[in-house]
């Protein structure tokens, strides 16, 4: 066992403590939690502070010092109380908490993955965090911070050896001897493109939304006036100086958001490495924390390949391998945050095919022959989402004395978007070595594919209106353990057949779906 782990004997269980360096992890962990969860609650106090307190700098320093000292004391107390134990019943027991003492029990059999993260602050002392992922639940996640890499790998080996003993059919990974059959490295230049493609900039903007009024006032006083003055003096643009100043400011804000997004992408996916062997992925990435994620293909419920507008311009796709997330959207989001989703951030179309072929050798995005939706969908959507809104705009033009051609423009744009969305809808069924797969495509300007094996479906549903039934049409909805597949307006007999066949697969296949 590692020399960084001091051991102590308490009661009949063999309780152990992690390295004292783990205090660093607790400091970072509680700081992040404070910023994420606590800061918003302190907003009213912040407003009072900004508006009522006179000697702001002094009191801010006092509050900051108190916060830091409290954080340090709390982290040290947390470390003192943090003990773990591997019981003879093949369980990980964690004792933790300062004011509220908790014991977390995680059975080896429930552990889905053992991930190893190497935060930058542990690099000089060669320690890692050993993260035990339980199925879909964040609260059940157990982390052993500040253990040696060898110990973490031994834990991983021990757990998977136990799982292999319990389920001999299941393929077990061995991280120490993970000699990949296939591998993929994504350059940091490509990762930066993910920053441009992703919505992280929007998330960053949302984070500053509560302060937007203060920010706008500040910008108006400090920057716009100066930029306006600059344009007036240097360029002599008296009339348009204010407009130019505003445009400059917006451009700067957009640029900042983009830079922020690129920065966040690099922090998350820096030096991205992906290995695949024996139906198992191993991914290592991260700037501040080298996070190692391993995922068995059996656990993957569906694979999503998506490309948004920016992705189309850059000719890049994002691929996500999704695991089960019980408990709805919140758990799904939590699963993503919890890094249980394997995200391959930026791939070109050849790489998408190549990665997907590691898992599904039959997959070739260019040869998927999709069955589209019936034209009735186009007619309905054109009526509801193009004609009716344009008629309302036309009415508005008459009442408001605007140019009536505006409504024609609206009609053309909406009709174009509706047609694009209609053309994107499609499904494709595939049989490969007695296994049945479905690919569902949707999108508008971008495109979104979901690939899954039919037996993993959780439930199936058909939806139809009176007019659809008269036209012999149905919409198809298949619930998966991660997301869903929806295919509107297909022929009734096709929808019925897919539902019956999906149910047959789900009910007759003896393989473990989760």
């Amino acid at each position: 066992m590692s020399n960084t782990i001091s051991q102590e004997q308490s009661s009949s269980l063999h309780w152990q403590k992690v390295s004292p360096w783990a205090v660093l992890y607790f400091v970072v962990y509680f700081s992040v939690r404070f910023v994420k969860d606590g800061l918003l609650n302190l907003l009213p106090m912040l407003v009072v502070f900004v508006t009522q307190v006179e000697n702001k700098l002094f009191w801010a320093q006092v509050a900051g010092a108190i916060a830091i000292v409290t954080l340090l004391i709390y982290s040290i107390l947390y470390y003192i109380n943090f003990k773990f134990c591997i019981s003879d019943d093949h369980e990980i027991l964690l004792n933790k908490g300062v004011f509220k003492k908790e014991r977390l029990t995680l059975k080896f059999s429930r552990v889905q993955n053992v991930n190893i993260a190497e935060p930058f602050y542990f690099t000089p002392v060669n320690l890692v965090n050993c993260i035990f992922d339980a199925a879909g639940s964040v609260t059940q996640e157990a982390v052993l911070p500040g253990v040696t890499k060898a110990y973490a790998q031994q834990m991983r080996k021990q757990i998977f050896a136990f799982k292999a003993q319990q389920q001999p059919d299941e393929q077990t990974p061995s991280s120490e001897h993970f000699e990949a059959e296939n591998s993929l490295r994504i350059s940091n230049k490509e990762i930066a493109k993910f920053g441009l493609m992703s919505n992280m900039a929007i998330l960053a903007m949302a984070a500053i939304a509560p302060f937007i009024n203060v920010l706008v006032d500040f910008l108006e006083q400090q920057i716009i006036a100066k930029v306006e003055g600059f344009y007036q003096q240097e360029l002599g643009l008296l009339a348009s100086a204010a407009t130019f100043a505003m445009i400059t400011l917006i451009a700067l804000l957009v640029l900042t958001a983009v830079m922020l997004s690129v920065g966040m992408s690099l922090i998350r996916f820096y030096n991205f490495e992906l290995y695949f062997k024996g139906q198992k992925f191993k991914r290592i990435a991260g700037l501040l924390e080298r996070h190692q994620l391993s995922m068995s293909m059996d656990k993957v419920q569906s694979i999503v390949i998506k490309q948004n507008l920016m992705g189309r311009l850059l000719k890049r796709f994002t691929v996500e391998c999704l695991q089960a997330s019980s408990g709805g959207i919140a758990a799904g989001v939590a699963a993503k945050k919890n890094k249980q989703t394997l995200v391959l951030p930026v791939l070109n179309s050849e790489q998408v095919d190549s990665v997907c072929q590691w898992i599904y050798p039959w997959f070739n995005s260019k040869k998927l022959q999709f069955n589209g939706a019936e034209p009735a969908l186009l007619y309905k959507n054109l009526s509801f989402y193009a004609l009716i809104p344009s008629a309302i705009v036309l009415l508005g033009c008459y009442l408001g004395d605007f140019n009536a051609w505006l409504s024609l423009g609206v009609l053309l744009i909406l009709a174009g978007l509706v047609t694009l969305a209609y053309q994107r809808y499609g499904y494709y069924l595939h049989e490969d070595n007695g296994r049945f797969y479905m690919v569902v495509r949707k999108g508008m300007i971008g495109v979104h594919y979901r690939v899954f094996e039919l037996y993993k479906a959780q439930s199936a549903r058909s939806i139809s209106t009176y007019f659809m039934r008269r036209a012999g049409l149905k919409s198809l909805y298949i619930q998966l353990a991660s997301g869903f597949a929806f295919m509107p307006y297909i022929k009734q007999q096709d929808a019925d057949y897919i539902i019956d066949f999906t149910l047959y697969q789900a009910e007759s296949t003896q393989r473990n779906w989760m």
């Binding site: 089960a324 439930s459 019956d500």
Partner: protein, 177 residues
């Protein structure tokens, strides 16, 4: 490419014989709506009583409109309950609902993660209950059947709990109860 469309004769979900909900299901729905309409009418009455100007303008419309609204919703409820049905098969449970958008949902029993039986005060009085079946990944319950008797709910729960995927017992009698 998937090319075995007609190889096997699959059990067809479109041929399932659905069982209607309990007799008192309609009464339960109507009472639920009544519990909404009574306070709604009380609020309208109070507004008319205290605001004479509003009363003068809207009284006639309200006196005609509100009873029509209540009548329409009662008719809608009757139709909605009539169109609902459920069935328990060897390996799955099916539920049909919807007036404008008709849906039929089939949930394989092997995918049920957990179940809940709910009984509100009106349901308790009418000896009815609602059954919720959850699978992985759904936003809320995958299947929610209101208007079953409490006994039916307990039987279904027992059936689902006893279910084993490799068994093929003839346990469908329950669906015909």
């Amino acid at each position: 490419m998937f090319d075995n469309q007609q190889v096997m004769d699959l059990p067809k979900h479109s041929e399932i014989q659905l069982n209607p909900l309990a007799d008192k299901a309609l009464l339960h729905v109507q009472l639920n709506w009544l519990a909404f309409y009574i306070p709604f009418c009380a609020v309208l009455f109070a507004v008319c009583y205290f605001n004479e100007a509003f009363a003068n303008k809207a009284q006639t419309y309200l006196l005609i409109g509100v009873p029509i609204l209540i009548l329409l919703s009662m008719l809608y409820n009757a139709l909605s309950i009539k169109l609902q049905g459920f069935a328990l098969r060897n390996h799955d449970i099916a539920f049909k609902k919807g007036v404008i958008w008709q849906q039929i949902t089939i949930l394989p029993l092997a995918r049920v993660q957990h179940m809940e039986i709910h009984q509100g005060p009106i349901e308790r009085k009418l000896k009815l209950a609602s059954l919720k079946l959850f699978s992985a990944g759904g936003v809320s319950a995958d299947l929610q059947i209101s208007g079953l008797t409490h006994e039916q709910c307990k039987n279904i729960r027992q059936f689902v709990q006893n279910y084993r995927q490799d068994d093929t017992p003839a346990q469908v009698e329950l669906a015909n109860e």
